[in-house]
């Protein structure tokens, strides 16, 4: 019966594993297809093409290189094309390059050596959106040959093995080697000393099964599922369960800048007059010279809308009530200026707002702290200030004015002899919680690296604002010149990777992984998808593009970076409990099986019958079922952990023999104190060893699960305690039951129990003393204790 039950158990486990593998395989395939589908969905659009002088609207999939395509506001570029004609053309490339501000596109020729996509202002990239103006371009590449296509190509492959999966694989290999060696050794020895070959074989196989922690997949899956459920409560959705452990073990987090560290929106940061004194006119004039439509929502140019949002936030929108708008000279890309004429009381004023260099050109004076000064005398200083702010990643608009006579209409010629008043400084601000999140990550041993398509100064500004210490900055073009070895070295000491392409993001992650790091990547754009896929843990946000969300392992439902740290803690707890099982299982199983093998040589009977071994194994596994709910010590989750097979090996080698020693002691007691020396007395012997072995194997869990003093300074989880003690109780009464008799056990004498308690207490204390030697004196257990 027990044999059948044991075999049934094995069969169920094997079948479950096969089913799980099939489901996982299917899921991965499905996911890969879904990613491609999303990409296709993103780019399946109509295009207005001119062929043989005729304008046709065709499916973008039918476009070929050389086609002349026209684009207008709202269009999605149907292919990568070289712009040949443009009129005020602006595109939104945020999801593609990470640039949060609209990018001006022209047909101008560029002289660039090895340009990166975001430098190509005369190119339209497939998938980007035209937000202003119109243009015409000749198609250079289509479909999978476009920049977007190359991203999709890198996604159509299976997920690379995570660091945790690698660890499990190495651990499995170690177990296979150990099990094979023990099985062959035990069988040969038993057969050599004259045991029947079938008994020897069954015994050696039972020992081998006893050595395998077959519950590990279940423990891992239960842990991961529970972790995923806990993380869902803090609005972190785990899409790929296996990534949770790597989430906890992650020691490098690479992140995109726009939309992850920053809000990904244009915000007016400051209305700055030229002098030191505050001047409310800078804001009032910019509200008057504004093209945004203000109703229930603010609609229009992002910068004009940002000015209104700033004014509303600062309760300053009322300041313009005294003014009446008389006329407007609209913005155009040649002038890069917009102007309005307003009337207050009887005076008219012309206000111009636009690109600083265009405004400067129309100014003859500047107002600094209420004093009008000639423009020539201050231009150099103003230009320096403007350049400095621009380099730091701020977008600037300049504001100028002049009194103007009343007339029926105004024209661009009136935009002259202006007085420069100040600047409007726009920014993509860091997220509110970003600074706190960066600090917490640092304290948790997670190194942060910024991978961005923006320029290095912009990225540096964000780092300064978030107080991320910058060790080194590398730009995309420099990275192109580096060999793989140089990349591997430089990624270690670099904090900011600026102006990089999606392919380079991938290289950086691969280099970090090759250096032994567990790498997380956080991004939300199409350009982030390959990196999200390659990283051990791909993190994205709910507002990300579908492709990024599909490629990610974990999606944050709220843009709250602090939930990242909660997730990391959860991952570390799960890893901690998994490793506990591995260490306990391997060391105590190894010890028990080793002593079983030794005993089989000198005893005239088997120290434990195969079915008894398997039953003990089953009972031990049941006791371990609640291990995923166990508490994990605070200090364990402070730093990232890693699978370290060398450590597991040392641990097994050291703690395994403790158990063997007490098994041998039990043999002595059963043989020489209770006289179980003959085959007729084997049931007593086997019962004595079964109970001792089970007690030590299960109870040592409370000692090994922590580096602290068990129970006193580290409490085990209540379910673990309850189930473990229940299993111990069951194992204790088993020899007295019908089932015990069926399994070949015999009742044990009362003296045995007294000796057992003393022996087990000594054993547990000795193991605890062993912990002092192992952790404190030898200082082992740096990474995956």
């Amino acid at each position: 019966m027990a044999g059948v039950f044991a075999e049934l158990k094995q069969a169920v486990i094997i079948l479950s594993m096969i089913a799980l593998s099939v489901i996982l395989g299917f899921y991965n395939e499905y996911k890969a297809e879904k990613i491609v589908e999303n990409l296709k969905h993103n780019v399946s659009i109509k295009a207005l093409v001119t062929r043989n002088g005729k304008a046709l609207q065709i499916d973008s999939r039918l476009l070929v290189p050389g086609d002349l395509v026209s684009v207008y506001v709202g269009d999605i570029a149907p292919a990568d094309m070289r712009i040949v004609k443009s009129k005020n053309l602006e595109t939104d490339e945020a999801t593609f390059t990470g640039e949060s501000f609209p990018v001006e596109k022209t047909s101008d020729r560029l002289d660039l050596q090895a340009p990166i996509p975001q430098q190509l202002t005369n190119y339209l990239f497939m998938g980007t959106v035209v937000v202003h103006g119109s243009g015409q371009g000749i198609i250079v590449s289509t479909g999978k040959n476009t920049e977007l296509g190359s991203i999709s190509k890198s996604l159509v492959r299976s997920h690379p093995e995570t660091e945790f999966q690698k660890g499990v694989r190495k651990y499995g290999n170690m177990l296979i080697t150990l099990t094979l060696a023990l099985t062959i050794g035990i069988f040969s020895l038993n057969y050599a000393i004259g045991h029947f070959w079938l008994d020897s074989l069954l015994f050696s196989l039972a020992v081998a099964v006893g050595l395998v922690p077959e519950l590990m997949p279940a423990i891992v899956t239960i842990s991961l599922a529970q972790g995923a459920s806990k993380m869902a409560k803090v609005k972190v959705i785990v899409k790929r369960l296996v990534s949770i452990e790597d989430f906890g073990n992650m020691d490098v987090l690479c992140t995109d800048k726009t939309g992850t560290l920053t809000e990904g929106t244009v915000v007016l940061g400051e209305c700055r007059p030229l002098g030191e004194e505050d001047d409310p006119r800078v804001l009032s004039y910019s509200l008057l010279c504004n093209s945004a439509a203000v109703g229930e929502e603010i609609v229009g140019n992002p910068m004009d809308a940002a000015i209104w949002e700033y004014a509303i936030k600062n309760d300053a929108q009322e300041n313009i009530k005294a003014y009446t708008k008389v006329d407007e000279i609209p913005f155009d890309y040649q002038r890069r200026v917009m102007s309005v004429v307003v009337k207050k009381n009887d005076g008219h004023t012309l206000i111009s707002k636009g690109a600083p260099e265009s405004i400067f050109a129309r100014c003859t004076s500047a107002e600094i702290d209420g004093k009008i000064q000639p423009m020539d005398s201050v231009l150099k200083a103003i230009n320096a200030k403007f350049s400095n702010l621009s380099e730091l990643g701020y977008r600037l608009l300049a504001l100028a004015f002049r009194p103007i006579e009343a007339k029926t209409s105004y024209s661009v010629e009136d935009e002259a002899d202006l007085t420069l008043l100040g600047f409007l400084i726009f920014t993509d601000p860091p997220k509110k919680d970003a600074h706190q999140a960066v600090d917490r990550l640092k304290s948790m041993g997670v190194d942060m690296k910024i991978l961005t398509g923006d320029n290095e100064l912009v990225a540096k500004t964000i780092c300064d604002e978030l107080k991320v210490p910058v060790k080194r900055v590398i730009c995309g073009p420099d990275l192109t010149q580096m060999s793989w070895t140089e990349i591997k070295t430089s990624v270690e000491e670099t904090t900011i990777f600026a102006r990089i392409t999606p392919e380079q993001k991938l290289d950086i992650i691969k280099a970090l992984k090759a250096n032994g790091h567990v790498v997380g990547y956080m991004g939300d754009g199409v350009n982030d998808a390959p990196a999200l896929y390659e990283a051990d843990v791909g993190l994205s946000v709910d507002t990300a593009v579908d492709v990024a969300k599909e490629a990610a392992d974990i999606v944050l439902l709220e843009k709250d970076l602090l939930v990242l740290t909660d997730g990391i803690n959860e991952g570390r707890k799960i890893f901690g409990n998994t490793i506990k099982y591995v260490l306990m299982g391997t060391s105590s199983n190894f010890g028990n099986m080793f002593s079983a093998a030794a005993a089989s040589i000198f005893l005239p009977f088997l120290p434990m019958l195969p079915m008894q071994i398997l039953f003990m194994n089953l009972l031990y596994d049941i006791a371990n079922m609640t291990l995923p709910t166990d508490n994990v010590d605070e200090e364990y989750i402070k730093h990232p952990k890693r699978w370290d097979i060398g450590f597991v090996r040392k641990y097994t080698l050291f703690f395994g023999p403790f158990s063997s020693l007490y098994d041998f002691l039990t043999y002595g007691i059963m043989l020489f104190i209770f006289g179980a020396t003959t085959p007729a007395m084997q049931s007593l012997f086997q019962s004595g060893w079964f109970v001792e072995s089970f007690w030590t194997e299960v109870l040592v869990m409370f000692v090994i699960r922590t580096r602290r003093i068990p129970f006193f300074t580290s409490r085990p989880g209540k379910w673990l305690t309850l189930l473990t003690l229940s299993c111990v109780a069951f194992g204790t009464i088993l020899p007295f039951t019908f089932l015990g008799g069926f399994l070949g056990f015999a009742p044990l004498p009362p003296e045995y129990w007294g000796l057992l308690v003393l022996m087990v207490v000594t054993y547990l204390l000795l193991v605890d003393a062993g912990k002092v030697f192992f952790y404190k004196i030898c200082k082992f257990g740096g990474s995956d204790r």
């Binding site: 200090e635 020693l661 003093i709 204390l765 000795l766 404190k776």
Partner: protein, 104 residues
């Protein structure tokens, strides 16, 4: 196998287990010193070695005691010896866990 043969085999097995554990401890200690020496100069005098291996001395003491008491076949000797060893181990563990974090 007769009783004497069994006793001999048993003594060999339990001794082999203890000696194996002792050797593993020495190996681990040497291994840890080797890796620490790369960063810090480590002076291993006799006193610190004796202190570091307290657990091994207890282990070897236990081995002798177990072989003796089991061969004697006395439950009382076995029980009394165990209690003494437990007291020693508890004292050792408390001495080695004086820091607030209680980490071993």
């Amino acid at each position: 196998m007769d009783d004497v043969g069994l006793r001999t085999w048993w003594a060999i097995c339990i001794s082999a287990g203890s000696i194996f554990l002792t050797l593993v401890s020495i190996y681990l200690y040497a291994d840890s010193r080797k890796s620490h020496r790369k960063n810090v100069r480590v002076h291993a005098d006799v006193a610190s070695l004796v202190k570091a291996f307290v657990f091994v001395w207890v282990l070897l003491g236990l081995l002798v005691f177990y072989i003796f008491s089991v061969n004697l076949g006395s439950l009382y000797v076995f029980a009394a010896g165990n209690i003494i060893v437990e007291a020693i181990l508890i004292a050792y563990l408390f001495r080695n866990r004086t820091d607030r974090s209680e980490q071993t």
